[in-house]
């Protein structure tokens, strides 16, 4: 079967496509920002599922690749703003690691819009919700992630 046949990638049933989004949030800023979005009743799509990590620097590129491998359509990583890290320097390392990882994914031809790093402080509930809405919309528009699953598909 040709890979891009409509039946397979679900074109025509676009409204039925609900992406799976994994959001890694640091405990001190972004997770609290997500909580604030909740407390302020700022809605964002239910497709986003948050995993709490102590610091964005805890996120191993493996986790992101794993998520894609297991069928995630988008992965977003949120941490404190550079300079505001609870652990002083954690997010600076995150920034370098993710810069290189995302650049590599882009290099391999994987849609760069599926990965994102966003700095969200504990006070930015509105930004958190807005970011998630935007990210879900972007990933939804891209459709199902197949590039990371199908790279070795021979036909």
């Amino acid at each position: 079967m040709p890979m891009n046949s409509p039946e397979k990638n679900g074109v025509g049933k676009e409204e039925a496509f609900r992406p799976k989004i994994v959001a890694f949030c640091c405990n001190w800023c972004s997770y609290a920002g997500a909580d604030l979005a909740g407390t302020s009743r700022l809605s964002y799509p239910a497709e986003v599922k948050i995993i709490r990590v102590p610091c964005s620097c805890r996120v191993n590129p493996t986790f992101i690749l794993r998520a894609f491998g297991r069928g995630a359509d988008g992965v977003i990583l949120c941490g404190c703003h550079p300079g505001d890290c609870h652990y002083t320097t954690g997010n600076y390392y995150t920034r370098r690691r993710m810069t290189l990882l995302f650049s590599m994914l882009d290099y391999l031809g994987i849609e760069r819009e599926r990965t994102r790093v966003e700095w969200v402080s504990a006070a930015e509930g509105a930004k958190f919700a807005e970011t998630m809405r935007d990210f879900v919309a972007t990933v939804t528009a891209l459709g199902k992630n197949r590039r990371l699953e199908d790279l070795r598909c021979r036909n």
Binding site: I50, P61, R70
Partner: protein
């Protein structure tokens, strides 16, 4: 298989209003390993907690998942409940189905589905949780303050006041620091010595405080609560216990040509000296670079005149080792060297001085006895020009990019004092901006202008030219008048930028405390933890953290003391058990983790391992000090071999969560 209990909270209608809690409990109850799944209106209530505790006991649960509000809200509550029933508190996980689900979604089916996924992820995580016990370490109830300026003095006094012993290590022969050199203080104009020296005396008399003057910290090991510090007591060739501070030796010493460092070289002192009259400890010190006896064995006058027999030419550096629970860095600042600012003729003319030198020239105990005289000819200056921002706010590679903060105010003070004492003297101040945020600061500056008639000119001095007649030609711009001014001045005072004392950098290395690019100590959090270093147990006091005036320094010194007291008041430190740990079988010893650790919590050990054929292999492996680690996890990703993992947020736990969400 581990038995897991799942408890779904209604939170009244907060959750149950949007999430079908019964359906969530039912769905999660069917998952492998789940022994019990229930829902309840308020899980955090007494009866809700009892429900959890009963289930733990009756079903012998090995893990608990609570689907409720944010863990930031009630994680501690539920952990405590589990612990009360003998279940390790770290076998409790929270699925946040309120803030991150029911409160943000309106579609009931969607919200219920998400709650189930979040519950699943928490169940998969808790299955991989390990029971964790927070490590405990005793606290040595003694503090070390490094630096004996006003910051160190205040911190030490406050700590001692709370009943804890404190040691002050000061590299100079006396405590007092920069403040001891000042004349008056802004904005009240009371004399620095009058308010500082009582504090110095208090330090000396307080039995909780020991002063190690003329000493330096040479080695630091250990961690918060348990530092082991080696202090080098430099040889001062005078027995501190015998010296009475009578000063007989300092009068009789024949070596009279030693530049007086306390007066910034504006006059001379003897080779044996007491820096100033109110020095603490009031003990003489021999300057080995100048003492004839020490240099070539020809003199010995001081030993002859000393009635107490305190002189000891054979004294050597001694080392003492002491344990401390907390360390305070109070290393202070100094003015930058102006040797690279040739345009201001500093070093070319003796009548171009720094502000700190002016303090000495105006101080009653200074080289001129408090009368303002030109260093070159000892005459009264009739025109004094102040130049602001010399080396501050500079990106020319010669100065500092930051604002030194104190110069605007002390210059206003100097200008005012000169105008008050010598009304016939014209005072010009060249400024870029006048920065006066602080209580009564702007009023003070305005008084200088309005009451004392100091001429403030917006513009910078471009060049100072020493003239053959001894005067100084100052070329400057007056930006408001759009003119270039040429003034003939008798004295030019440069407000040199301040920089951290050079002893701070090696100290930071000893303490594994981080510094910024300007060598100021970094705070644990710039807003919320301004007096703590990221390195646990190390606190910051005064200008070593950034430029500060006296009130600010004293405030910060007190704040640092409060933090130290809070630490020392504890008998034991209970650590955060969610710390990194290294699997030494996997560790390569490559140092990647060590380099990213902001706390210096990782060190390396040579360990013996069993090699093939009964051989013993020595390998370098990382070890984490759980008392110092704060659990950020930076090391876990830096580690290429996966040897480094984080308790409570392990690789397998996070990946299980990822799997549960994605599948």
């Amino acid at each position: 298989m581990q038995k897991i209990g799942v408890f779904v909270c209604h939170c009244g209608t907060n959750i149950a209003g949007t999430v079908d809690v019964a359906a969530v409990a039912e769905a999660l109850g069917k998952l492998p390993g789940v022994a019990v799944a229930a829902d309840y209106p308020y899980m955090c209530s007494e009866s809700g907690q009892k429900m959890i505790r009963d289930a733990i006991r009756e079903k012998e649960l090995g893990g608990v998942v609570i689907c409720s509000c944010s863990p930031r809200m009630h994680e501690a509550t539920f952990r405590k409940a589990a612990a009360a029933e003998g279940l390790n508190p770290y076998l409790v996980e929270i699925a946040n189905i309120r803030e991150q689900d029911s409160w943000i979604h309106r579609d009931r089916a969607e919200a219920t589905e998400k709650a189930i996924v979040l519950g699943k992820a928490a169940i998969e995580k808790v299955k991989r949780n390990a029971p964790l016990t927070a490590g405990e370490s005793p606290v040595v109830k003694r503090a070390l303050v490094i630096g004996g300026g006003i910051a160190g003095i205040q911190t030490a006094l406050d700590i001692a006041e709370a009943g804890f012993p404190v040691d002050i290590v000061e590299k100079e022969p006396t405590i007092g620091g920069k403040m001891a050199q000042l004349d008056k203080t802004f904005p009240t104009l009371d004399c620095a010595a009058c308010i500082l020296t009582p504090k110095m005396v208090e330090c000396a008399q307080n039995e909780k405080i020991r002063i190690f003057s003329y000493s330096e910290v040479s080695k630091v090991s250990g961690f918060v609560g348990n530092f082991r510090v080696t202090i080098r007591r430099k040889a001062r060739y005078v027995d501190e216990t015998k010296c009475t501070g009578c000063g007989e030796c300092t009068e009789k010493c024949p070596q009279k040509k030693v530049p007086n460092s306390f007066n910034l070289g504006l006059d001379n002192r003897r080779a044996i000296y007491i820096p100033f009259a109110q020095a603490v400890p009031k003990v003489a010190t021999i300057d080995a670079d100048w003492c004839n006896m020490l240099k070539n064995g020809k003199c010995g006058v001081c030993a002859k005149v000393c009635g107490a027999g305190a002189i000891d030419y054979k004294q050597k550096d001694t080392f003492i080792e002491e344990e401390y629970g907390a360390i305070v860095a109070a290393t202070g600042f100094r003015p930058i060297s102006l040797s690279r600012y040739e345009e201001y003729a500093y070093g070319l003319s003796r009548d171009v001085v720094t502000s700190l030198e002016l303090e000495r020239l105006m101080n009653a105990a200074g080289p001129t006895g408090g009368t303002l005289l030109r260093p070159s000819d000892g005459k009264h200056p009739h025109t004094v020009v102040f130049v602001q921002c010399v080396g501050s706010r500079c990106e020319d590679g010669k100065g500092k990019s930051y604002c030194s903060k104190i110069c605007c105010m002390y210059t206003a003070k100097h200008a005012m004092l000169i105008r008050e004492k010598y009304p016939d003297t014209e005072v010009y101040v060249f400024t870029i901006d006048v920065r006066t945020p602080g209580k009564n600061f702007d009023e003070f500056y305005r008084r200088a202008v309005e009451e004392y008639g100091v001429h403030y000119i917006k513009g910078m001095v471009g060049k100072v030219l020493p003239e053959p007649d001894g005067s100084l030609t100052v070329r400057a711009s007056d930006l408001i008048a759009n003119e270039q001014l040429k003034l003939s001045a008798d004295l030019v005072v440069l407000a040199a930028a301040v920089e951290p004392d050079p002893s701070a950098r090696p100290l930071a290395t000893l303490l594994t405390a981080s510094m910024d690019t300007n060598d100021f100590f970094t705070e644990a959090h710039p807003k919320l933890r301004p007096v703590e270093s990221p390195t646990a147990g190390v606190f910051l006091s005064g200008a070593c953290q950034g430029p500060k005036d006296i009130p600010e320094t004293v405030a910060q010194a007190g704040a640092a003391a409060a933090k130290v007291i809070g630490l020392l008041a504890k008998d034991k430190l209970v650590g955060n058990p969610c710390v990194a740990h290294s699997d030494e079988m996997l560790c390569n010893g490559c140092s990647s983790c060590e380099k990213v650790c902001p706390y210096g919590a990782i060190h390396y050990e040579e360990k013996e391992f069993r090699g093939p054929n009964r051989t013993v292999l020595k390998r370098r492996v990382a070890a984490v000090n759980a008392a110092v680690c704060q659990g950020c996890g930076a090391c876990t990703v830096a580690c290429p071999s996966g040897a480094m993992d984080l308790h409570g947020f392990s690789n397998s736990q996070i990946m299980a969560e990822v799997d549960a969400i994605c599948r």
